[in-house]
Structures are given as structure tokens and as C-alpha cells.
Amino acid sequence: MALVTPTVRRPDRWATLHRSARARPVEWLVERGILLVSLSAILLVFLIFLFVAREALPVALGRMTSARGQRPLPVDSLDQIPRESLRAYLGLKADEFVAMTREQLQLLMEIKAEELAGVSEDKDAAVNTTQWRYLIGPHQWSDYDQPEFIWQPVSRVPKYNLVPLVIGSLKTTLVALLFAVPLALGAALYVSQLAAPQVKEYLKPVIEMLSGIPSVVLGFFGLIVMASALQFVFGYQYRLNAFVAGLALGLAVIPVVFSIAEDALTSVPRSYVQAALALGSSRWQAAWRIVLPAAAPGVFAAVVLGFGRAIGETMVVLMASGNASIVSWNLFESTRTMTATIAAELAETVVGGHHYRMLFLIGAMLFIVTFVANLIGDVVIHRLKTKLEGKA
């Protein structure tokens, strides 16, 4: 009986059978443990948004103020002011305030009055710049000619307008997608439909190698090599700009779009292609008119996921975009994206301050945008696979 393979090599395994029955409580515990660990891992996904949003919430709900619109109180009115409002005016804690002598309080009031004298001249100082209408709308700041969108968190009056950053992000993402999508889709079509099988075997891993390059290396490459070369070719004024950053970013997007699109194109049943070829179409016609339309949702998903990758990429744009927050759709001007702003500024903020919370608000916005992009991409791919393969 050659067919009987010795699967049970050790007959003493029988012993474990009896033991296992008695060991059930332990197993039950272990299995609960498995459930617990996996549920907490899943909880983490939701925690991510929770903790980023938690830090951003006071700003998002308008509970913070950056206004410093206090009027200086005359120093000799020290005795007339109610004790409590004097404490608030000087910004002291209750126990500190009690420990102060009258002379110390007087000195503090003089300092405060001096401090406020400069500020109260400026009508911008009275503005709470963390309000939503200052975050998204233009505002007439006192030293500007016209209403403008300004991101300038480190200044006497911190200005937190998000529009320059959003435009910066969209600008670089657009360049990246315009560069990466045609290349990646062309390559996906070629590799999955047109290339000979032997060539395909080598091409796929080589293109996927691109995704193994860390983004900081792509950023370095954009900054050191591409920036100078492109400036030499196109002759624009600023060496680091949205165009350079977008092209470098495109290198990070190509493998994402390629592998998802290639996967979708390959999952189209071969019988479609065979039928088309039998009817006399060329390989290209079969690929373009049969396979591509059948896999169109997958290609769309590839582009959406590529968008999510591009808008969330940090190091490339931080290094190659020039980081000037300007409202302009000119691709050849220095630009600053949402991600780069977080990376560059968070280390210098006061924990819990409005600048800190504003950066978390940007992070929460990024999370939502990429989450929605991923969700769309995932659902589309899932549906496509169900349709093409006839299974869930």
C-alpha cells in the first residue's frame, strides 16, 4: 500500500487527544486572547483618527483663541479693579496671585501695560485667527493692500489660512499624477497584455523595485539631481518648485498605480482576449477595446489610490518643493504642501498651543481625504473582482 503515507509518525499523539479534552479551559482562554489582541489591533485603526482629531478638536470647534485684544489698564487703578479680574488680566494662577505683594503686582501691571501698548495699536491683534472664517477665507490684514490668504503661524499675529497649503498640495499632486498615471498605465497595459511572457516575468519585479526606494531617497534625488537638471532644461527662476516636487513625487506614485492597474488588467479572464484574437483583432485592439474597458473600474481605483499616496507623501515634497506658502497656481513657483507644513513646523510648536492644534487639524484633514480615497479604491476593486471572477 504505497498510497498510505506515514502521516502519524508518532503514535503517542493519541495521548494529546485525551489531554486536549481536559485542557479545554486553557484553550478557551487562549482563543479569547486571540480575539482580544486582534480586536485591539483593529481598535488601533480607529484610535489613530481619534487621537489626531482629539488634538485638533479645540481648534476645529472654535474653542481656542489667538486674540490678544486686551486694553492696558492704568497702573494706578490697581486698588479699584476686582481681585479676580486682576488675576485674569495678569495671567496668574490663584496661589501665585495670593503670594504676591502689592509692589510685585504693581510691577507686573507696568510690564503688562508696556507689553500691550505695542499690540493694541495693531487692530489685527484683536482677531482670533483660529476661527474657521480666517482658516478658509481671505482677510484684509492691516499691512496688506488687499484681502489675502496667508499661512504665517510664526509672527506677531499668527495667520492660519489653509488655502495656500491646500493649493500647494493639490498642485504637486496634480503634477505627480499627470506624470505618473500615463506612464504607469501604459506600462501596466504593456506588461499585462502585450509583453511576451518571458519579458513580463522580469519587468514586473523591476518596476515594483521602484516602490522599494524610500521616499527620503526620492526626495534627495529630486533635491540634488532633478532640481538642477530640470532648471537647466526649462530655465525657470526658482530651483525648487511644485514642478520638481511633483515629478519626484510621481516616482513614488508610479509603482502604486502600476501594481494596482496591472493586477486589475490581469484579472480580466483570458477568454475575453482569446475571443477577440479569434475574431481577428490585433493584440493591441484586444487590449484597448476589450481588456481596458472590462478593467476600467480597477484602473480608476489605481488612479484614486495613487492620488491618496501622492497627497499624503511627506519627505519628497518637504525636500524638493521649496516650502514657501504662496497662493498661486504657477507650477514653477516655490510651494508648500500640507504634509510638509506638519513635518517642518511641529517640532517648534508649543504642545497644546493653537499652532500645534492647527497642525493636527491639517493631519486630520489629510487622514479624512486619504481615507475616503482608499475607501473608494477598495470598494471599486472589490466589486470589479467579484464581477470578473464571479466570487466574493
Partner: protein, 342 residues
């Protein structure tokens, strides 16, 4: 009656016929690949050329990047550079070394593996072996895991700062070390950077493990159960050993992704400069990727720094590529086994 002799075809004739058929079939096969002969229409050949050109361009860009980095980085690379620390001037070619950065990167990656592998494998086991495959809960979990993979890495950095450092670290300080002025846990540290990266690479491990778990023949599980093993015994002694290559792949992919990431550790542990190696979990560390960023943006004289910058990039790329190649080799073996079974 004369018999009509039905002469059997001679062997030679048979062979000739067979060869002719073969030739025809083969030619058709070749024709299909050869656009010059089948492609009567111009557009077909033009567009095939275009897509082939796109492929070639991507490969060319990749080759150019790697060649440029290797060409320029080779000269700056030396044994001293790899094993020496930086004591005086980290922008000086003759004095700089990257050992502290290699050490820091290795430390954070190894720590991360310790966190992410057990959690990822257990979650994957739950999803494939225990959870019902059709229930909406499982689908939501899968969706959430997939989405985790697409969250920008800088958001993970924010999460690490908000959750691990401010929340967990802050509470640890308040609980165990009340009254200490300097925070011990509630500041950027090696352990928090590793944990942040572990959260980030969790989907990689889960997806790879799940894939290899699903590739195991259901017959194996059934045989084990039929022999009287309990479900847990089956999972631990039959399923998991079979899935080991997949788990390994997931681990290596996670490591190679984490090794090159900079954005998540910017605020959770990476240091601009440290005179000594990290001594404990709560120390900060220097990091290869962050060092590339520092060298290329903070250098007082980029022309002088260029050789060490390139050399550092070579070290970083060498590290991540070696890991990637290992993962690809293991994964292709697993996939082959998967294909052989179906």
C-alpha cells in the same frame, strides 16, 4: 477482387505531417506576438510601441536613479565610514561616520518587529481561522486594515505624538514618576518610534500572513481535526508552521518599509545629533533616513557634503533593497506553492 491495399502511412510521412502542423501552430503563436506580421494596421503597432516605451522609460528612470546614486556614492563609501561614529563634524567627509545611524535604524526596526509580528499574526489567525468569512464585521475589519495601509505616514507621526508620547507616556510619568520635572516616558523615544512604526506596518504583516494562511490546503486542517486535535492545536501545530514563509515575508516587507520611513519618526524619536548611542528604550536615536534629510537640507556647504550624502544614501538603499529582495524571493516561493495546489 483485388484488394485495395490501404497502405499505412510511412513513419516518415507521419513525422513530416506532424512537423508541418507543428510549424503552422507555432507560427500562429509567434504571429500573435509579432506585431510586424500580424499587425496590418498602423495604430496597433504605434500604441504597442508607446506602451512599451512607457515601460522602458520607467525602467530607465529606475536604472538612472540607482546608477547615479551608486556612481556618486561609491567613492565616499569606506569601511571607516560604516563603522565609525560622528564625533566632531557630521558634514565633514573625513570625519563623518554613519554607525550611530545604522545602529539607531536597526534598533528601531528590530523593536518594531517584536511589536508588530505577534500582533499581526494573531490578528491574521483570527481573521482567517476564527472569524466568519462572510460576516459584515470581518469585512469591516478587512476594510479598516486595508485603509490603514493608505494613511499618510506623517499622520502616523502625529498619532505617535498624540497617543504614545502625550497620552501613554504622559500617563506613565504621572503614575510612576510623580513630581519628576523632566519627563522620562512623555518625550520622543526609541520605544515610541518603534511602536508608531509597528502600527504603520501592521497591515503589511496581516495581509501577508492572511495570504499564506489561505494558501494552506483545507485538507491539512481537516486531517488534523479528524485525528482529534482541537482547533487551537491545529492552528498552532499544523497551520502556523505551514504559514511560516508567509509570515516571514510579511515581517521582511514590514521591516523594509519601516527602515526607510522618516516622516513617522520625525517627532517620535529621531534625533538631529547625539554624541552617544541610545542607552535605553527612552533615549532618542539617530537614524539613516533622517540623516539623509539632515545632510541634504541642513548642510552649510552642499558641495563638500555631497560625497557623504551619497554614501549614506547607498547604505540606506543597500539595506532596504537587500530586505526587499529577500521578501520577493520568499514570496515567489509561497506563490508557486499556491499555484501548484490550485
Amino acid at each position: 477482387m483485388s484488394k485495395v491495399a490501404i497502405r499505412p502511412e510511412s513513419f516518415d510521412t507521419q513525422l513530416r505531417k506532424r512537423r508541418r502542423w507543428q510549424r503552422m501552430l507555432l507560427r500562429d503563436e509567434n504571429l500573435a506576438w509579432d506585431i510586424r506580421r500580424v499587425g496590418v494596421d498602423l495604430p496597433s503597432s504605434v500604441f504597442t510601441g508607446l506602451t512599451g516605451g512607457a515601460t522602458l522609460m520607467i525602467v530607465g528612470i529606475l536604472a538612472f536613479i540607482l546608477a547615479n546614486i551608486l556612481w556618486n556614492g561609491w567613492s565616499g563609501l569606506s569601511w571607516r565610514f560604516v563603522v565609525a561614529g560622528t564625533t566632531e563634524d557630521m558634514f565633514d567627509v573625513n570625519k563623518a561616520g554613519v554607525f550611530p545611524m545604522i545602529f539607531g535604524t536597526a534598533a528601531r526596526v528590530i523593536l518594531m518587529t517584536l511589536f508588530v509580528i505577534p500582533v499581526g499574526v494573531i490578528t491574521a489567525v483570527y481573521l482567517t481561522e476564527y472569524a466568519s468569512p462572510t460576516s459584515p464585521v470581518t469585512r469591516i475589519i478587512r476594510g479598516a486594515v486595508n485603509n490603514l495601509a493608505g494613511v499618510p505616514s506623517i499622520v502616523f507621526g502625529l498619532f505617535g505624538l498624540g497617543f504614545f508620547i502625550s497620552f501613554v507616556g504622559g500617563h506613565l510619568d504621572r503614575l510612576f514618576l510623580p513630581g519628576t520635572a523632566e519627563p522620562v516616558w512623555g518625550k520622543p523615544a526609541l520605544v515610541w518610534a518603534s511602536m508608531t512604526l509597528a502600527v504603520m506596518t501592521l497591515p503589511v504583516v496581516i495581509v501577508a500572513t492572511e495570504e499564506s494562511l489561505r494558501a494552506i490546503l483545507p485538507g491539512l486542517r481537516e486531517a488534523s481535526l479528524a485525528l482529534g486535535a482541537t482547533k487551537l492545536q491545529t492552528v498552532v501545530k499544523v497551520v502556523l508552521p505551514q504559514a511560516l514563509p508567509g509570515i516571514l515575508t510579511g515581517g521582511i516587507l514590514a521591516v523594509s518599509r519601516a527602515a526607510g520611513e522618516v516622516a513617522p519618526i520625525l517627532f517620535t524619536g529621531a534625533a538631529y545629533y547625539m554624541a552617544h548611542l541610545p542607552q535605553s528604550l527612552t533615549d532618542q536615536f539617530m537614524d539613516l533616513g533622517y540623516h539623509v534629510y539632515v545632510l541634504s537640507t541642513q548642510s552649510p556647504n552642499i558641495e563638500l557634503t555631497r560625497p557623504i550624502l551619497y554614501a549614506t544614501v547607498v547604505v540606506l538603499l543597500g539595506l532596504t533593497f537587500a530586505l526587499n529582495v529577500a521578501a520577493i524571493v520568499i514570496r515567489s516561493r509561497v506563490r508557486q506553492r499556491l499555484r501548484a495546489m490550485h
